[in-house]
Amino acid sequence: MSRADDLARFWASLPIVETLGMRVDIKGDDLTAVLPYQEKLIGNFAIKALHGGAIATFLELAAMAQLYIATDGIAPPRTINVTIDYLRQAHAQDLYARSTITKLGRRVASVRAEAWQAKRDKPVAAIMAHFQIKSLDDLAG
């Protein structure tokens, strides 16, 4: 079974992923996270904007998925810290995210992720996060 199949199967087992209604599109080691628009994601009815917390959750999960596919991890990486920048209002539309692993160490990884809607070069939010990685070695040792 490929790492992509592995991730898809594992990902479907996370309750928060189902609650959020997100999915991951994987082509080889290339991953795009997709959050289809749903009314439950709204944070402000007056301006029909997605909730910042839903966007942050989506970006953190997107970063974790990217890390999971790049490592031999068998459990979700543990978040050490995360900084989220809210750049533009997120409208009642689908949201996409892509992540870049800036540094992959033995124990800690640094990941950036960016979310956008209509235009890729007009991101609505971005995160920078550090994760603690649990590898097979850690669990064995």
Partner: protein
Amino acid sequence: MMDIVKNVPWSKELGFEMTRVEKGHAWGRQPYLDHLVGDPTTGIIHGGVITTMLDTISGMACASALSEVRMIATLDLRLDYMRPATPKRDIIGEAECFHITKSIAFIRAWAYHDSRDKTIAIAQSAFALTSLKRGAPA
């Protein structure tokens, strides 16, 4: 002011509730719910849920600190984890607006089970304050 959150779909989805608001301060409770688990091997709620709660109560602390009604928007929020949340236990959130300028409010927030002495996570955020009329920076 506490009722605002009841009409927010994503807050409802998470089962979050505001418990107390004072000038520049806000408190809330995030119940432990199975559909919010982020790691099935440990049963721990996903960090995004804590981010959502601390963002929400930080916004409340910000809004309650203002002497006039204005639009507020989170600019950024940094969250540091001190320890994992305990499965099956509710998480309490507390936020405090510690500085405010003409256009920006600075907020600190804590997530814990029992008291701030044993914090699960600490957040610091900045909020942009804009005038209600034109949405332009005041």
